[in-house]
C-alpha cells in the first residue's frame, strides 16, 4: 500500500472529529468566497454610480439616495464584520480539531512502534544501533506531526476550493477563466520533475539524522571512556563529519526547493498578468465591469493559492513519506519468535532444563553450539565454564528463548520451549549480569521492577537478603533515592546488590548468573556472593564464571569449548580427569600466585 495512504488509515478512529474539522474548513472557504462578492456589490452598486469617467458626480444626487447608500454601505460593512467573526470561530474549530487529531495519531503511532519494538527478537537489535531506533521512534514520528490530518485536510480543502472558485471564475467570465488555466500544464510538469528529484534526498536526510542520533547515543553512553582516553577531539570530528553529511544533504534539498518554488511562482504569476491584459481590455471596451474585474482578480489568487498549496503539500508528503517508510519498516518486521496459538501458560515451573542435541548459529555465521545435550534437575547449581566465545552465553540465550535452536530441542519441565508462552517462561527466569542494568528511577522502583505490587516490607526484605538495605538507608532519601540513568549514582557493587534484590523479589524458578561478581572488589564480592547464596536457594541456577573459584561448589560443571560440551562433572571429578577444566584451574591458580 502507498505509504501515504497507509498513514491515512490512522485517521479512521478520529473520522468524526476530522469530518467536523474539514466541514469547518469548507465553511471557511464559503466565507472566503463571500468577501470579494460583497466587495463587488459595494463597488458596482454603491460606489461606481458616484463616478463617471473618473469624476465625482455624487453632488447631483438627492440627499435621500446618499443617506440610503450610507445605510447600505453600513449594512455591507456589518455583513463583512460578521463574515470575519465567523471566519475566526470556524478557523479555531478547524485548527483545534485537526491539530488535536494529529497529536492523537502521533501518540498512538509512537506507542505502537514502541510496543512492536519490544516484541522483536534480539536478531533485529543485533543489526541496528540504539540511536538509530530512537531516531525512528522520536524524530521520524515527530516529522509526521502535521502530515496525516493537516495534509488530508489541505488536499481535500484545496481540491474543493479549486472546484468552487474555478466555477465562480467560469461564472464571472468564461473567456478569462480559460486564460487562467493557461499556465497549468507547465506548472504540473515542474511539480513532477521536482518530486522525482527531491524524493531520494529526503530519504537520505532521515538516514543522516539517524546516523547522528546513533553516534550521539553511543558517545553519551560511553562518555567516561571518551574522557578516559582523551578522545574528545576525535569524537568531535566524527560528530562534525556526521553533521556535515546532514548539512550537505539539507543544502541540496534547499537548493532544489529554492530553485523550484520561485520558478513555479513565476509560471503561475503569468495568470494574473494575462487577466490584467485581457480583462483590462474588456473593461475599457465596456464588456466587463470594474467590480467584476476586481472580483475576478481576487478569486484568481484564491484559485491559484490552493494550486500552489497543493504543490507545497506534495513537498510535505514526499518528506513525510521518507519518515513513514522508516517507521513502517519497523512495524512490518515480524518477530522471529512468537507464541504459537497452542502455547501453554505455566504458573510455576519446577525448573528442570534439558538440551537435546542442540545446534545453533547466529544469522548465517558458523555454528556457535553443536550437538549440545545437557540435563539439569530442579534446584541444581550448574556452572558453565570455558574460554571466551565458547558458547556459554548462547546456552543462556536459548534457555530464555531469545532465539530458537536451528536443530534439537530445549525443554523446561519436560516441555519444548516452543510450546510454552514466552511471557510465562521469561517471568520465571531471573538474571544477574556482570553489568547490571538499572533504570532511571528510585531504588524502590528498581527493586520492585519485577513485582509492581510489592509492599514496602517485600522491598525491604529483598534488599536485606541482597545485603543492600544498610547502604540504601545510608542515602538521605533511602529507598526513594533517584539513582540516575543506568544507576549512575551507585557504585558497581551497589548496583549489583540492587539487581540481586530485584531478582529476589521476582522470585524466579530459574536463575542465571553471568559473571555476577567479576567486576567488584573482594569485600563487595563477599557481600554479593553471600546475597547470591540466598538467592540461589531452591532455584535452578546457571552460573557463568571465568573465576572458577565461584562455581567450584556447583552440582555439575559443563565445560564448553568451540560450541561443544567437552567435559562435565563436579569440580573434583573434573580435576581428576585432568582435561580442559583442570588446565583452566591451573592457569588461574598460577595467575593468582603471580
Amino acid at each position: 500500500m502507498n505509504v501515504f495512504l497507509r498513514l491515512i488509515t490512522y485517521v479512521r478512529p478520529y473520522l468524526g472529529r476530522v469530518s467536523i474539522g474539514i466541514s469547518a474548513t469548507l465553511v471557511i472557504i464559503g466565507l472566503d468566497a463571500a468577501q470579494p462578492l460583497l466587495m463587488r456589490e459595494v463597488i458596482d452598486n454603491i460606489l461606481t454610480p458616484y463616478f463617471t469617467e473618473g469624476n465625482y458626480i455624487g453632488g447631483d444626487f438627492p440627499d435621500t439616495k446618499i443617506a440610503a447608500d450610507f445605510d447600505r454601505l453600513q449594512f455591507y460593512a456589518l455583513l463583512l464584520l460578521g463574515v470575519y467573526i465567523l471566519h475566526t470561530i470556524f478557523s479555531f474549530i478547524n485548527r483545534y480539531l485537526l491539530n488535536r487529531t494529529g497529536q492523537d495519531i502521533l501518540f498512538s503511532l509512537r506507542v505502537q512502534v514502541y510496543d512492536h519494538l519490544q516484541h522483536l527478537g534480539l536478531r533485529f537489535y543485533n543489526d541496528r544501533s540504539t540511536g538509530e531506533l530512537m531516531s525512528r521512534v522520536t524524530a521520524d514520528v515527530e516529522s509526521l506531526q502535521y502530515t496525516v490530518t493537516d495534509t488530508l485536510e489541505r488536499v481535500l480543502v484545496n481540491i474543493a476550493t479549486i472546484v468552487i472558485f474555478g466555477s465562480i471564475l467560469f461564472g464571472l467570465s468564461f473567456e478569462l477563466a480559460l486564460i487562467t488555466l493557461l499556465p497549468m500544464p507547465l506548472y504540473s510538469t515542474l511539480i513532477i520533475l521536482y518530486n522525482h528529484k527531491v524524493r531520494p534526498y529526503y530519504t537520505m536526510a532521515r538516514e543522516r539524522i539517524a546516523d547522528i542520533s546513533a553516534l550521539l547515543q553511543d558517545n553519551l553512553s560511553g562518555i567516561r571512556v571518551i574522557k578516559c582516553f582523551a578522545r574528545e577531539g576525535h569524537e568531535l570530528s566524527r560528530f562534525t563529519q556526521k553533521c556535515k553529511a546532514f548539512l550537505t544533504i539539507s543544502i541540496t534539498i534547499i537548493k532544489t526547493r529554492v530553485a523550484f518554488f520561485p520558478v513555479a511562482r513565476l509560471v503561475i504569476s503569468m495568470g494574473p498578468l494575462l487577466i490584467l491584459l485581457f480583462g483590462g481590455r474588456q473593461v475599457i471596451s465596456g464588456d466587463l465591469t470594474i467590480g467584476t474585474l476586481f472580483a475576478f482578480q481576487s478569486f484568481l489568487w484564491r484559485f491559484y493559492g490552493p494550486v500552489e498549496s497543493l504543490t507545497r503539500i506534495n513537498d510535505t508528503i514526499v518528506r513525510a513519506a521518507a519518515s513513514a517508510r522508516r517507521i513502517f519498516e519497523i512495524l512490518d518486521t515480524q518477530p522471529e519468535i512468537k507464541d504459537t496459538p497452542n502455547a501453554l501458560p505455566f504458573d510455576r515451573l519446577n525448573g528442570s532444563v534439558e538440551f537435546q542435541n542442540v545446534t545453533f548459529a547466529y544469522e548465517h555465521g558458523p555454528p556457535v553450539l553443536q550437538g549440545v545435550s545437557l540435563n539439569v534437575q530442579p534446584g541444581q547449581l550448574i556452572g558453565l565454564v570455558g574460554p571466551s566465545g565458547a558458547g556459554k552465553t548462547t546456552i543462556i540465550n536459548l534457555i530464555c528463548r531469545f532465539y530458537d535452536p536451528d536443530s534439537g530441542t530445549v525443554c523446561v519441565d519436560g516441555y519444548d520451549l516452543k510450546d510454552m508462552q514466552r511471557a510465562s517462561l521469561r517471568s520465571q527466569i531471573g538474571m544477574v549480569l556482570q553489568e547490571p542494568f538499572l533504570f532511571n528511577g528510585t531504588i524502590r522502583e528498581n527493586i520492585a521492577y519485577g513485582k509492581l505490587n510489592a509492599t514496602e516490607a517485600d522491598i525491604i526484605n529483598a534488599a536485606m537478603m541482597a545485603n543492600a538495605h544498610d547502604f540504601v538507608c545510608g542515602f538521605s532519601d533511602a529507598y526513594d533515592t533517584h539513582i540516575g540513568e543506568r544507576g549512575v549514582r551507585l557504585s558497581g557493587g551497589e548496583k549489583q546488590r540492587i539487581s540481586i534484590a530485584r531478582a529476589i523479589l521476582n522470585d524466579p524458578r530459574i536463575l542465571i548468573l553471568d559473571e555476577a561478581t567479576s567486576s567488584v572488589d573482594t569485600e563487595t564480592e563477599m557481600l554479593i556472593q553471600n546475597a547470591l547464596e540466598r538467592l540461589m536457594e531452591g532455584r535452578t541456577t546457571f552460573a557463568i564464571a571465568h573465576r572458577l573459584s565461584t562455581v567450584r561448589r556447583a552440582d555439575c560443571l559443563y565445560v564448553i569449548d568451540r560450541g561443544k560440551i567437552v567435559e562435565s562433572g563436579t569440580h573434583t571429578q573434573l580435576l581428576a580427569s585432568d582435561g580442559l577444566y583442570a588446565r583452566l584451574c591451573d592457569m588461574q591458580f598460577a595467575l593468582e600466585e603471580a
Partner: protein, 180 residues
C-alpha cells in the same frame, strides 16, 4: 521468599533521651540510637522507620509508630522532624530557564524567600503528589510543596509549565482537594 526482615514491636520497646542521643530498650537490651531514618521518606514517610547506631548498623525497624508509648513516639517524631524538616514552599514567585539547560526558581517559603536550581527530573520527586519535593541541583538542599493543589493559581500556573506532570496528577484534584 525467605523473610529476613525483623521488625520491632512498638508496644514492647521504649525509647528514652540520653544526653544528645537516644536509647532503645528492647528485649532487655539497652542500645544507643545515633540516628533515625525514614526508609521511604517521600512515598510512605510515616512507615518503615529504621533506628541506627553510630556505625549505621540497624538496631531495629519500626513498620509504624502506632503503638509506641507517648514519650517514645514524641522522641522519634522530634528526631525525624529535625532530620527531615525542609522549607515549605508557599508561593512560586518566578521560574526562569538558565544557560545550563535547567531552571532557577524564586520561591517564598515558611522560612522566607529563597531560590534554588533544578537540572532535570532527578531533582524532582512527585511520588507523593500533590506533595512535591525539589532538590537543589547545586546545594542538594530540599524544598517542599506540601499540597500543589492548594497553591495559589499563579504559582500553579508557573509550576505547571516546568513540571513533568501528566493527567494522573490533575485528575480529580481540582478545587484544591487532595486524594491523600
Amino acid at each position: 521468599m525467605d523473610l529476613m526482615i525483623q521488625q520491632l514491636i512498638p508496644e514492647t520497646i521504649d525509647i528514652r533521651q540520653n544526653g544528645d542521643g537516644l536509647l532503645l530498650f528492647a528485649d532487655g537490651e539497652e542500645l544507643a540510637i545515633d540516628h533515625i531514618v525514614r526508609c521511604f521518606p517521600f512515598s510512605t514517610p510515616e512507615q518503615w522507620i529504621s533506628l541506627r547506631d553510630r556505625d549505621g548498623t540497624e538496631l531495629g525497624l519500626l513498620s509504624t509508630l502506632d503503638g509506641l508509648n507517648t514519650q517514645s513516639r514524641a522522641l522519634v517524631e522530634e528526631h525525624l522532624k529535625n532530620r527531615y524538616d525542609i522549607p515549605q514552599i508557599q508561593t512560586i514567585l518566578n521560574i526562569e530557564s538558565n544557560k545550563e539547560g535547567g531552571t532557577n526558581w524564586d520561591i517564598d517559603t515558611n522560612a522566607g524567600p529563597m531560590s534554588f536550581t533544578l537540572r532535570g527530573d532527578q531533582n524532582l520527586n512527585l511520588n507523593a503528589f500533590p506533595e512535591i519535593v525539589f532538590t537543589d541541583a547545586i546545594t542538594r538542599k530540599r524544598y517542599k510543596i506540601l499540597d500543589y493543589t492548594k497553591l495559589d493559581r499563579a504559582s500553579q500556573k508557573n509550576a505547571r509549565a516546568y513540571l513533568p506532570m501528566s493527567s494522573r496528577h490533575y485528575s480529580g484534584r481540582r478545587g484544591g482537594r487532595s486524594r491523600r
